[in-house]
Amino acid sequence: MSTQDIILSSGTSRLSPAAQVRKKLSKVAKLFDATKCNGCKACQVSCSEWNDLRAPIGEFTGSYQNPADLSSECWTLMKFNEVTDEKDKLLRWQFTHTACMHCDDPACLTACSTKDAIVQHANGIVDFDSDKCIGCGYCVTACPFDVPKLDSVDQKAYKCTMCSDRLQVGQEPSCVKSCTTGALKFGTREDMLFIADMRIKQLHEKGFAKAGLYNPKGVGGTGMMMILHDIDDPQSYGLPADPKTSLSIKLWQDVVKPLGAAGIIATVAVACLHRITVGRNIVEEDEPAAFDHSHPSKSDKE
């Protein structure tokens, strides 16, 4: 990985882009097919195994979902959403492979004020650099999917990296490799969209008329797309209906901060200009003294 593999970087303004990409890497994506998932949690286990994360054993919360939520020690979580079926009134599980969505327009990166603590690689992966993270938690509150979590020990934010260490050597993410049912797929975004399209057509033929692809436009599309049984009701999967970067973050990062920077530069520029054109304000020595300097210091040369 080199500098040129970074296309977006936190804490920098749009006026001064972080880096230019010369290597045209194709964007990658993970495709989660909720209609194929059987909730076995192999993705969750292999994530913890590969990333050397061992979350402390939690407590029973009344659900098969365990742990209850993502944490700095749990980057992938199978959510066991319990839904009552409309037709037969029976309990049904809707599994959601919960991990970072790797948004094309990531809210966490926009919100982050620390330079390069959050970067987006040319392949679309949004990655945190814990060496640079200052633990402010802006990304935690900004993320519309509630993914990044602060660690209780070092107070830095952590989340799924889409196994960027595996991707750089040409391997698929650990979760995708382990998936036994083929509910998780990995490839270029183009390929994943194509596969999703075929699968959704198949689902429509099978009677799942509402099946569709969750690839929200509010965040510019995501690096993890999901095929859902009912695309009109993503909330039943624990997903926001219309995720986007909040207006206040956009205003702060894209308007207020550049304006502030421009203001400081303008002040300095005007000061310089004033110094060159008008010059210093010289106080005439022969004005009547308001105060009698009877013993002027010798070291004061002015």
């Binding site: 286990v45 590969w50 382990s178």
Partner: protein, 193 residues
């Protein structure tokens, strides 16, 4: 440098660094991707023994086979070349490395004798001797050579055998031959425990 010049220098450098801190002078952003942890690790093929599916595994261990390096497994993932699982693993298989390195593993044979609730450590020789003795006694007492019609059946119904679930054909053949030659009828694998 006099006092006034010193103040000017301080003020101008503060102003300069303030401007650069606003992100207007971006430095190099290095992608801090984690080092790929399997580089030069020893890769060993094996089978998962925790169910009858028998998924292929790649086990990665520290230690280059050098005489002085103790090998230890630190990562296990599915073997993509294995026809059974083609790289995938169930959660049990995906977490195998924690089984391998578990502090709760059995390291030696133990026996809990009838009527007690205590596990007693015994040697391997004692274990094999004890198992053989008990099997022989039970077989001598309960072996059925002929059924009521006088047909030779050679059954031993009072004992069953739990075998490994992940064996190649040859291993399965040997296991089967051993068990059947004793007259065992109840044979099952650890996949069902």
């Amino acid at each position: 440098m006099n006092r006034r010049q010193f103040f000017k220098l301080c003020a101008s450098s503060t102003a300069t660094s303030a401007i650069s801190a606003l992100g207007l002078l971006p430095g190099k952003a290095f992608a801090a991707v984690r080092e790929f942890k399997l580089l030069r690790a020893k890769e060993t093929r094996n089978n998962c023994c925790y169910c009858s599916v028998g998924c292929g595994l790649l086990m990665y261990s520290h230690g280059s086979n050098g005489k002085n390096a103790e090998k230890s497994i630190f990562h296990i993932e599915g073997d993509a070349d294995h026809p059974v699982n083609r790289g995938s693993l169930c959660p049990k298989g995906a977490g195998l490395v924690d089984y391998v390195n578990s502090p709760n593993r059995n390291h030696f044979p133990e026996v809990r004798e009838p009527g007690t609730n205590e596990w007693k450590r015994i040697s391997w020789n004692e274990a094999f001797g004890r198992i053989a003795r008990l099997m022989k006694d039970d077989r001598d007492a309960n072996f059925i050579e002929k059924n009521s019609d006088g047909t030779t059946v050679n059954r031993w119904l009072s004992t069953g055998m739990m075998t490994s679930s992940a064996q190649p054909n040859e291993g399965a053949y040997i296991t089967h031959k051993f068990a059947r030659s004793l007259g065992l009828v109840a044979i099952d694998t650890i996949a069902r425990n």
